[in-house]
Every structure is written in structure tokens, then in C-alpha cells.
Amino acid sequence: MRNALLGLAGVAAFLLLLETVPHTGLVDDRYLPPFSEMARALGDSAGTAEFWQALGDTLRTWGTGLALAFAAGTAAGMVIGSVPALRDATASTIEFLRPIPAVALIPLAVLLYGTGMEATLILVVYSAFWQVLMQVLAGVADVDPVARDTARSFRFRHRTRALRLVWPTTLPYAVTGFRLAASVALILTITGELIIGTPGLGRLIAVAQTSGAVAPLYGLVIVTGLLGVVVNLSARLLERRVLRWHPSVRQETAR
């Protein structure tokens, strides 16, 4: 409760800043209008079906991409992380592929899928996948040796070991991976829509940009930011539920 209030206070402070900076003349308010104007423009577009359609499209692409990336990243991370030989063998390949920006793959994606949702989706999955994978790998490496020995001595099957030992240890890392992946996925969704032109908020942003509509542009940017905040809040809630035992969450409830 207190945390929610603090968070609201933070947002309020930020909005205040956003409202006053243009008035100070620090930047030209033609290019950074005060917040009230952005909000008004946002209110206007919120009245249109087009906006909701675009929001829906963005959410669909993003949700699908994130789900695919999370599932694939977790599965691959658990498997690769648990088998040292596999870990060693894939290390160099992973390091090679990771820094290749999805935007460089746009021509290939478009070639394969045209300017439909799939083209953006493939970019989203590609970039979000690495976030999850790297976190899960780190998590798997963090399993307590004594706990691992305990599981071995009781001859837990691989499945049980994965589900009952490795996964809970990895979970905090995976949650972080999820949060990182969620925003990367959102970023790529919007970027894909912006550059490839698949339907969604990014398209609206591009249109607003090319027609020089500044306030509506910021309104849309605010929406993407808000999406990020919502994701993070849900991740936090989830975390409090599933990580009750973790030292970080424990401390907060005990004090």
C-alpha cells in the first residue's frame, strides 16, 4: 500500500516535471509540449476505434512474442544450463548471435513474412529470447551445492530435480528475465511496426511523426511507457506470490 503511494508520488513528480519543463523555455514547446497537451491529444485518440485497434494489435504481437520467447528461453536455458558439456559447446555461438541486432534482420524477416504481424513477431522473439536465456542460465548456475547434493542423494529423477530444485532457484532470475524480455519485446514490437509497418501503435507513431503531429506523438509514446509500467506491476505481483521464500521477499514481509 505504502509502496503504491510512493510509486504514485514518483509518477506525479515526473509528470510535474514534464508539465513545467516546456514552460521554462529549456526546450521549444513546439517539440516538447507540456504534459497537459499530450494528455489532451491522448484523450482525443482514445476516442477513436483506430487507436484501440492499434493497441490491440500491438498487445497481440507483443504477448505472443513474449510468450514464445519466454517458453523457448526457459526451456533452452534449463537444458543448456543443466548439461555442462552443452553449455560449453554453445557458449561461443550464443555470444556470437546475441549482439546481432534484430533490426539488421528486418529485410530477412520481411522477405519471409512480408509486412504482416509475423515479420515483427520474429524480431520480437529473437530479441526477447536472449534476455530470458541469459537470465535462466545464470539462475541454473546458482543452485546451492548442498541442496543439489541433497537432491542427488535422494536420487531425484531429472524431472523432479529440474522442477523442484533447479526451477525454484532459477525463478528469481527468470522473473528478472521476464521483466527484461517484456520491455525488449515491447520495444521491438513498436520498432517493427514503426519500420516494417505492421499494424499497431508503432504505425500510428510513424504516421504522427510523418505528419508532424507532435502532441499526439507524445501521447502514443506515453501509452507505450504505460504498457511497460503495467507489465512491471504484474511481474512484481507475480513475484511476491511465487517468491515468498526468497530472501528478498522474506525480508520485506518480516520487517
Partner: protein
């Protein structure tokens, strides 16, 4: 005395042959999968006959002429410079903010929504806004790199700090370690596995953003070249750029791993100790 003799007794000097074999095996592990994938790429691309997916042989033939005629100095070096600056700043900022936020739940609650808000704004949208404040030069590009690379460091630092065993904090409090000592010897060291994980992620994100930042208001750089090739439909050249990018990433991650080995020696030791100390 006894322990000394015991030590020398248990260390059979490794023969040159076995050392070579050891290094050979490591090399094989390092290059095995890439070799297989490259071969696969070679075969598939040779048959694909697709303009956007040219044969690997053609790409490799383009590599030298494309990059070794001055482009390395003109495009790669400026890119790497911006990358280094951005990455270093992201690390500094991420760790500093992460420690602050991780140790102060109230601050975390206060700042988190706004930070998350910025985190979700895509760089291609963010860049025009940044350009308003920072212009179009190197500063803007470095800030773009920072604005994306800082998050994994920040989040992982926060998690690392929060995950430190409470008993270690208690020990530090009991022995009245000063805040600065506590920061150095307890918080930063304890969170270092998390920080390293974040830094590792941030490295590749920084490279990605280096490319993206060069898509705006740039006139040199690795990312700029790739985009130029792509726009000019010089696809083999574009692929050489992508490969170079991967190689840069790989090289940096090797450097990173060496640093990590030194910083996290205790952590690796602790994890491996119980497996018999041999692996």
C-alpha cells in the same frame, strides 16, 4: 611440513602432451558448434538462390575488400569508442542506481514506475526526443546506448543486492562496518554474481543499441555501414557487417569472461568446490 610434501606429491607435473590435448579439447569445444553451423549455412545458402540470403562463399569473399580498405578505422573504431563510453556509463549508472534502489525499498517504490516507463519506450521513438536535448552528435549516441544497456545492470544489481544473505548484513552491522566498507565488501561483492549477469546482458544490448543509434543522424559506424549496405541492396556486404558485428560481440564477451573469472573466482570456487574441485 607434511602438508607441504603432500602438496608436491599430489601435483604430478602435467606433461606437455596432456596440456596440448587439454587446450585442443577446449578449442574443439569452443569452435565445434560454430563450425557445424557455418557448414550448414554454407550448404543451405549455396542452394537457396535467394538475393537477400546470398551464398556464404560470396559473403566471405566480400569480407576483405569491404572492411580492410579503411572501413575498420573509419567505421569500426568510432563505433567501438561510442560503445565503450556508453557501456562504461551504463555499468556505472546501473550499479550505482541498483545499489541505491536495492538497499532502499522506499526509493525503489518511488522510482520504479517512472523507470519502467522509460524502459518501455523504444529507442527509435526515444532518439528523436533525445535529439531535442542532446543534439545529434556523439553524446546522443552514447546516451542511446546507456538508455538501453543500463536496465539489465540495474535490475540485476537490484536483485543481487536484495538476494544477499541477511546474516551477512547482520554480521556487518554487528561489527559496525562503516557504510562505505559495507558497500564495498558486503553489498558490491555479494551482488557481484548478479551484477556480472547484468553486465553480460548489457554488453550485447549495448552493441545492439550502438547499431540502432547509428541509424539516426550518423555518418559513420558499423551500424551505419550495415544500414547503408542494406539500403543500397549490397546484401553480401551487409552480411559481412552482421558477421563482423557477431565477431565483435564474441571478442568482447571473451574479454568479459576473463574479467569475470577474476572478479567471481570465489563464486566459481564455491560452486565447484563441492563437485570435487576437479571441474
Amino acid at each position: 611440513m607434511t602438508s607441504l610434501t603432500a602438496r608436491t606429491a599430489v601435483t604430478p607435473a602435467r606433461s606437455l602432451g596432456s596440456r596440448l590435448r587439454h587446450h585442443g579439447r577446449r578449442l574443439a569445444v569452443l569452435l565445434g558448434l560454430p563450425a557445424v553451423l557455418a557448414a550448414l549455412w554454407w550448404i543451405v545458402s549455396e542452394r537457396a538462390g535467394n538475393f537477400f540470403f546470398p551464398p556464404l562463399s560470396e559473403i566471405l569473399a566480400e569480407f576483405g575488400p569491404t572492411w580492410f580498405d579503411g572501413r575498420l578505422g573509419h567505421d569500426l573504431l568510432p563505433s567501438l569508442g561510442r560503445l565503450a563510453a556508453g557501456y562504461a556509463l551504463a555499468l556505472l549508472l546501473g550499479v550505482a542506481l541498483g545499489v541505491l534502489i536495492g538497499t532502499r525499498p522506499a526509493l525503489r517504490a518511488f522510482a520504479e514506475p517512472v523507470l519502467e516507463f522509460f524502459r518501455a519506450i523504444p529507442p527509435p521513438v526515444m532518439v528523436p526526443i533525445l535529439m531535442l536535448f542532446l543534439g545529434i552528435g556523439t553524446t546522443m549516441k552514447v546516451v542511446v546506448i546507456v538508455s538501453g544497456a543500463v536496465w539489465p545492470v540495474l535490475l540485476n544489481t537490484v536483485e543481487g543486492v536484495r538476494g544477499i544473505d541477511g546474516l551477512l548484513h547482520d554480521t556487518a552491522r554487528v561489527y559496525r562496518l562503516r557504510p562505505l566498507t559495507r558497500l564495498r565488501t558486503v553489498v558490491l561483492r555479494g551482488a557481484s554474481p548478479g551484477i556480472v549477469t547484468g553486465a553480460r546482458q548489457a554488453l550485447s544490448i549495448a552493441i545492439v543499441l550502438m547499431v540502432i543509434s547509428e541509424m539516426f543522424a550518423a555518418n559513420n559506424g558499423l551500424g551505419f555501414s550495415i544500414v547503408q549496405f542494406q539500403r543500397g541492396f549490397a546484401l553480401p556486404e551487409m552480411w559481412t557487417g552482421i558477421i563482423l558485428l557477431g565477431l565483435v560481440g564474441l571478442l568482447l564477451s571473451l574479454i568479459f569472461r576473463a574479467v569475470e573469472r577474476a572478479v567471481l573466482a570465489w563464486y566459481r570456487g564455491q560452486r565447484q568446490a563441492q563437485r570435487g574441485g576437479s571441474r
